[in-house]
């Protein structure tokens, strides 16, 4: 048994109301590590043969909440939520920082695999005594804050009743969905801790399709044993020393970027990406920090970076809203991209989207898309029932509810930007695709490529197996394998990263595997990405992506920037094409990005070959 793993997974069939423990063999664990990689492998083994026939909302789809061997032991533990994605029809390793992950491991489980569909709303409770399916009809329909309050009390009470004399039971770790997930808003997030989200991939909607409101975990055990405890202690100290010396990042998190990314690098979405530059100093970090941050350092289990800050609005029309920071992504997506430059409005909308269980990036992208259609007269007052002007926080507030409840035009917008663009285009006889900012159904994170001054470039999204996901972008098909592909599989936070050598020493000390940076860049990483690519290309049933044609940036990313210091710059199409070709070649995919037989054999993915053979024709 390698170190770092609790040793078993909880296998839940909601249709049959059966719960059992499953063990995954050591070879598979070593090859795929955990989280995103292991998730893709489990999906391929269990439903891969029928992949293109199984809808993401079919009970056969498997929703997984997985940890990795690094989770909880390396600073900044996260949970990786994965399954067949209803937006990309492939798979996305969507991660969120939460105590749910270490609690799960302390309860003795590396992950929860949920298939089937419950006949009425349920939640799953995982403790040292195993898993249990419980009734959730009383929390169905509740927003995030309410859900947490009720679940915390209920779980603590029942644990106290079960084992009264072991001392005070503390709250469980929980992942849950809001009304948006329940109503299967396609890009809804899996939420945790009121404002943390596994947002990419639309797994909130998958939970909703299974009538699964939440998964809670409470463990009383210790974290799993590691291979070399003394080495782990030493390495923890090294990473910790690095983390705590990053004073500026610890103080500001990404909460100072709402002004700076727009003003200095011109890569922040403004009014549905019509612009990427603004110089609104009212939206600067100090505004947020001095007026709204009530807790200046907030962290998850074993994280010494503490880049989160709790903000609260204490007076005015949005009094009582609580969220974190918001971080840069939500300052951009629930702020500048709505044409909003007022911190209070921004905090309110971030808190609202989180509470409703929308993804603050993906759901907000769809909302801004709707606002642009309104601007252009394609959608009108009648569709919404109100005016949807840029910068009008009250209107965007109403729109968030409309989509979460699937009322009026919200029913179509709830299908996510890409599918909504298709439907509205058919309805109104206008091509709406130029305004849809997504790659393969996944709305793009708040880092543009046109100015080329940010960390995202030409093929960052276009070639990525996770589409518009800004946390895992494509670069060279080699070095990136020890970046997000590794951190999403070991399942720890990117913001706690250290030099790659140090991270790999850490991983070796935890697991005892014979692994190296080189082996991950040549074998393990490409194996995960190639399998994800195969599943993405198979897609279906409602949408199958066309290789090459759909491996591209949205039209808006080829329009010249209309303002700012980089006015006129745009993404270079020729460069995208040549770099994309190199990317495919590096990973051993053919000129259309379909993995070749040789590559599949080399990566021990021989059983994927028959389905890829059909695609190559």
């Amino acid at each position: 048994m390698p170190g770092g793993y609790a040793g078993k997974f909880l296998d839940v069939d909601l249709s049959k109301e059966k719960v059992k423990d499953t063990v995954i063999d050591d070879e598979t664990l070593e090859a795929y590590f955990g989280g995103r990689g292991l998730g893709a492998k489990i999906l391929w083994d269990r439903i891969g043969k029928k992949w293109s026939k199984i809808d993401a909302f079919d009970p056969m789809n498997i929703l997984m909440a997985l940890t990795g061997p690094m989770t909880g032991i390396y600073p900044g533990g996260r949970i990786c939520v994965t399954g067949k994605s209803p937006v990309s029809n492939g798979t996305v390793g969507s991660t969120a920082s939460t105590e749910f992950a270490p609690e799960l491991k302390m309860a003795g489980y590396d992950g929860v695999l949920v298939s089937g569909k419950a006949s009425s709303p349920v939640y799953i409770l995982v403790t040292d005594d195993g898993g249990e399916i419980r009734d959730a009809s009383h929390i169905w329909g509740k927003v995030g804050e309410e859900t947490i309050k009720i679940l915390n009390k209920e779980v603590v009470d029942s644990l106290t009743e079960k084992k009264p004399n072991v001392g005070r039971w503390r709250e469980p770790g929980t992942i849950y969905i809001g009304p948006a997930g329940e109503n299967m808003v396609r890009n809804a997030a899996v939420m945790t801790k009121i404002c943390h989200a596994a947002g990419y991939g639309g797994y909130g909607a998958v939970m909703g399709s299974k009538n699964l409101k939440a998964i809670a975990a409470k463990g009383r055990g210790s974290l799993p044993e590691v291979f070399a405890p003394e080495a782990v202690k030493l390495l923890w100290k090294k990473v910790h020393e690095r983390s705590i010396s990053r004073d500026a990042f610890r103080r500001q998190g990404t909460g100072y970027a709402g002004w700076s990314v727009g003003a200095t690098t011109s890569s922040e979405p403004v009014r549905n990406w019509q612009e990427e530059w603004h110089d609104e100093r009212s939206f600067g970090g100090p505004m947020f920090e001095t007026r709204f941050w009530v807790k200046k350092y907030w962290a998850d289990f074993n994280c010494t970076v503490s880049c989160m800050k709790v903000s609260c609005i204490k007076s005015g029309k949005w009094k009582g809203d609580i969220t974190n920071m918001p971080d840069y992504e939500l300052q951009a997506y629930c702020g500048t991209n709505f044409g909003i430059f007022d911190p209070a409005d921004n905090i309110h909308l971030s808190a609202l989207l989180d509470n409703l269980g929308h993804s603050g990036i993906n759901g907000a992208n769809t909302m801004a898309f709707a606002a642009e259609l309104y601007q252009r007269g394609i959608l009108t007052d009648e569709d919404f029932g109100f005016k949807l002007g840029w910068g009008d926080a009250k209107a965007f507030d109403k729109l968030a509810w409309l989509i979460a409840k699937r009322e009026k035009i919200g029913d179509i917008l709830a299908e996510g930007t890409y599918r909504a663009a298709k439907k509205i285009g058919e309805m109104r006889g206008v091509d709406c695709m130029p305004y849809a900012v997504h790659v393969k159904g996944i709305e793009i994170g708040a880092h543009g490529t046109r100015s080329d001054e940010d960390y995202t470039h030409d093929i960052s999204y276009a070639a990525s197996v996770q589409g518009g996901d800004h946390t895992s972008t494509a670069s060279d098909g080699f070095k990136e394998m020890t970046g997000a592909v590794f951190s999403d599989s070991g399942v720890y936070c990117n913001f706690c990263s250290a030099p790659t050598e140090l991270i790999f020493d850490y991983a070796k000390a935890i697991t005892g595997y014979h692994m190296s940076i080189d082996s991950w860049r040549r074998w393990n990483g490409p194996r995960i990405v190639t399998l994800q690519r195969a599943l993405l290309l198979l897609g279906g049933p409602d949408q199958v992506w066309e290789p090459i044609k759909d491996d591209d940036n949205p039209p808006r990313f080829y329009e010249p920037l209309p303002s700012g210091p980089y006015k006129g710059r745009t993404t270079d199409k020729a460069l995208v094409e040549s770099k994309r070709a190199t990317y495919y070649e590096t990973l051993g995919w053919d000129e259309r990005g379909i993995p070749t037989k040789e590559t599949l054999d080399r990566l021990d993915l021989g059983d994927v070959e028959p389905s890829m053979k059909k695609l190559r024709k």
């Binding site: 040292d128 072991v166 801790k193 210790s222 705590i244 009530v294 204490k314």
Partner: protein, 131 residues
């Protein structure tokens, strides 16, 4: 963390009258003369849970490993948690040298009660309803 953002450290306050030590039917608990911390004799402890009942702050637990009473022993007078908190430049935890007094017991409170106060401090009126 009864509500996100509201975390409270929950540690032994070393009450002047040590209700936990008083309550132990088998004398497994004693007080370290130097540090004033409560020391658990793990061989003598019978896991009866009396000390948990007696504690005004709900501090002791039964350790999941050996099922024996678990109370902070201040690491022999030089607590590791205080060191790491200082290293990280928070200084949220500090070692306080204070002579015996009834004041100490004021810090022995249930974590939920402490969290309720903290929530109001952080969130204002809204804090009254979150926990």
């Amino acid at each position: 963390m009864p509500f996100p953002g509201v975390e409270v450290p929950h540690l032994c306050a070393q009450c002047d009258d040590y209700p936990c030590v008083e309550s132990c039917p088998v004398d497994a608990l004693s007080v370290d003369e130097k540090t004033t911390a409560v020391i658990v004799d793990r061989d003598a402890c019978t896991s009866c849970g009396e000390c948990i009942e007696a504690c005004p702050g709900n501090v002791p637990t039964l350790h999941p490993g050996d099922n024996k009473a678990n109370i902070c022993d201040l690491c022999g007078g030089d607590p590791e948690c205080v060191k790491v908190c200082h290293e990280a430049k928070y200084d949220a935890l500090r070692l306080v040298h204070e002579s015996m007094s009834t004041n100490r017991k004021l810090f022995a409170r249930d974590p939920i009660d402490v969290a309720k106060d903290l929530a109001v401090k952080l969130f204002g009126e809204k804090g009254e309803e979150v926990i």
